[in-house]
């Protein structure tokens, strides 16, 4: 125990003597939590649209007015040449071309049916997709409006209509930030845990102090605990700072208990630190450790369900996420923060992440050699 205390004392002294780490500890959560949710937004705005109007009728103009009245579209050109509109598309100035054919109004009035044509610039897939969907919605609305105009309050509605009313549970206003901020918190804790722990041990390899430690009768587990505990504490500190920032900046107060969050985070950090430790047993220089951690982090974060929903991933990627600790923590954070889930509700997540922690740390301890 005394040896462990001595190790911890030294580790904390070094951490708190390093201004870069301290600055990073405060800067990272602040910048990531304040900038990212504001900038990285799922909602697509400013879709550039080109309208080619071969009809020039009242209805056509009404439709265009309706489209441009929303925030989502900005009109690049309103012309009568499809090739010219395509040029805008080719120069990336337009994301979408809507073509209103000649006789649009006439067909609508006479045959109760008219066709519109939409061309999408699919280079930016998300924008094209969502832009197209918005446009379809607007046209659908427009369609309903004219229908109502024509029907003129009949006694019996000849066309039965089903109207859908929906309520958003757990995030009533569908506030995108409530969804993103808990996820970003997870990324923060993960990065700090994985990078700092890996770099710290490899740094001792680089400067040669690890050899001086290996020549002492120190036990493997003492050394490893001495390295894990400081970063475990640091990780929880980052989480605390992050929770405070998300409360002040976004008014997000976890619906569930803080105890649940911290319990899970404590176990989760064990797994992440184990991964950092494992990286450090393979890497000989800080550069190698950095690249290796970065590689792993990229995969874990991109397939962690923060930016893209896991449910819509292909099957093999979904299987991969079972082994991705990040995806469990993101899910747990969302469950606890938004829905107020309890420890009992997240018991499966907790068990799996605990198992990961045991496996990763076990492997790291096995792979850490005092003797080559």
């Amino acid at each position: 125990m005394r040896v462990l205390r001595i190790l911890l004392e030294k580790e904390f002294r070094q951490i708190f003597r390093n201004p870069a780490i301290l600055r990073l500890m405060f800067m990272m959560p602040t910048v990531q939590l304040i900038v990212m949710p504001l900038a990285a937004d799922y909602e697509v705005k400013n879709v550039n649209i080109c309208v080619v109007d071969y009809d020039r009728s009242v209805y056509a103009r009404d439709l265009v007015t309706k489209i441009t009245a929303t925030d989502y579209f900005s009109l690049v050109d309103y012309g009568d040449s499809y090739p010219k509109a395509l040029e805008y598309l080719e120069h990336d100035e337009a994301d979408l071309v809507l073509q209103i054919p000649a006789n649009f109004e006439k067909d609508l009035l006479r045959e109760d049916k008219a066709t519109l044509f939409m061309s999408l610039n699919a280079i930016n897939g998300v924008k094209a997709n969502l832009g197209g969907a918005y446009l379809r919605n607007i046209i659908g609305d427009f369609n309903n409006e004219i229908r109502q105009e024509w029907i003129q309050i009949p006694r019996f509605n000849p066309m039965p209509q089903i109207e859908i009313n929906s309520t958003n549970w757990y995030n009533p206003l569908m506030n995108y930030r409530f969804f993103m901020v808990p996820g970003i918190l997870v990324i923060l804790v993960t990065m700090v845990g994985a990078f700092l722990s890996a770099l710290n041990i490899v740094k001792e390899k680089e400067i040669g102090t690890i050899e001086q430690i290996n020549v002492t009768p120190i036990r493997k587990h003492e050394f490893i605990l001495g390295k894990l505990i400081p970063f475990w504490v640091l990780g929880l500190m980052i989480l605390t700072i992050g929770l405070i920032i998300s409360w002040i900046a976004y008014g997000i107060v976890p619906a569930g208990s803080l105890l649940t969050i911290y319990s899970f985070a404590g176990v989760y950090l064990l797994a992440v630190l184990g991964m950092g430790l494992l990286v450090s047993t393979f890497a000989n220089t800080q550069q190698q450790a950095m690249l290796l951690s970065f590689f792993l982090m990229m995969i874990f974060i991109l397939l962690g369900g923060l930016y893209t929903s896991i449910d819509s991933m292909p099957r093999w990627a979904q299987v991969f996420t079972w082994f991705n600790p990040v995806s469990y923590f993101i899910e747990v954070m969302r469950m606890v923060v938004l829905k107020g889930s309890t420890l009992y509700d997240i018991r499966e997540h907790l068990g799996i992440v605990l198992l990961m922690g045991i496996v990763l740390n076990g492997f790291a301890v096995y792979n850490y050699r005092k003797r080559s």
């Binding site: 040896v3 001086q212 003797r371």
Partner: protein, 248 residues
């Protein structure tokens, strides 16, 4: 001087793939001796020393250090040896006092022992005023002397020094050897590698490694007679020129 052997090495070999870094070496070191371990760069000195310190597994051969078997009792060996590596291995971002506390602590010294040892050491090194300054602010000579004293903190039976005076000025080198003599006079066995031939003359016995083998072993006087050289430099050059291995 008692003839008790504290290091006993028999046919010790270390191979890295096809490369035989240490080739079948055999020697003994007696208690209280200053044993010089000489050889050109890449001759295998550091590898041999690392095996004796339990930092590296031998490929074959036998060895016992401080009475313990190298294979079975590496932990017991570690409690009884001190090691000062070629690389500077104190924490530069800790103060002198913090380094002493750290290394003393992981050898299991109590707070009182650490205090006594560090007071003794600081007076000996005249480092009293620098006790609270960061190690990185100390000049190289002092750092090396401090590394040595830290390696001696837990009063080991044997201390291994890997080129302790590399890059150090002549005055500090002299002071460093005074520390080595003091340690030896208290009964500590000193196992030291060096490139300085004048330092080789200070040793009780010297071995010279060439291409992973021990090609000469004996007191400086014996070796000079054997190779009819007027100083250790002459002995060393005769042997080292035979080396076929390039600088490593």
């Amino acid at each position: 001087m008692s003839a008790e052997k504290v290091i006993s090495v028999k046919e010790l070999t270390k191979r890295f793939g096809d490369f035989t870094a240490v080739d079948n070496i055999t020697f003994d070191v007696k208690q209280g001796e200053i044993f010089g371990f000489l050889g050109a760069n890449g001759a295998g000195k550091t590898t041999a020393m690392r095996m004796l310190c339990g930092l590296s597994f031998p490929t074959s051969g036998e060895a016992s250090v401080a009475g313990f078997d190298l294979y079975k009792n590496a932990d017991a060996i570690k409690r009884n040896i001190g090691y000062m590596s070629q690389k500077f291995s104190l924490y530069e971002d800790l103060t002198v006092r913090e380094n002493i506390r750290f290394y003393g602590g992981i050898y299991g010294l109590t707070d009182r022992e650490i205090k006594e040892k560090s007071d003794e050491m600081l007076t000996q090194l005249k480092l009293g005023e620098q006790v609270n300054s960061l190690v990185k602010s100390l000049p190289l000579g002092w750092r090396q002397k401090m590394s040595f004293s830290v390696a001696m903190l837990h009063s080991p039976k044997i201390v291994f020094l890997d080129e302790p005076t590399g890059g150090v000025d002549p005055i500090t080198r002299r002071e460093f050897w005074t520390l080595i003599y003091e340690a030896a006079s208290r009964g500590t066995t000193v196992f030291v590698t060096t490139h300085y031939m004048d330092e080789a003359e200070y040793c009780d016995r010297v071995s010279i490694m060439v291409d992973g083998r021990v090609d000469a072993l004996g007191s400086p006087t014996e070796l000079k007679e054997q190779f009819s050289a007027k100083d250790m430099g002459g002995v060393f050059l005769q042997l080292a020129r035979k080396a076929t291995r390039s600088d490593g």
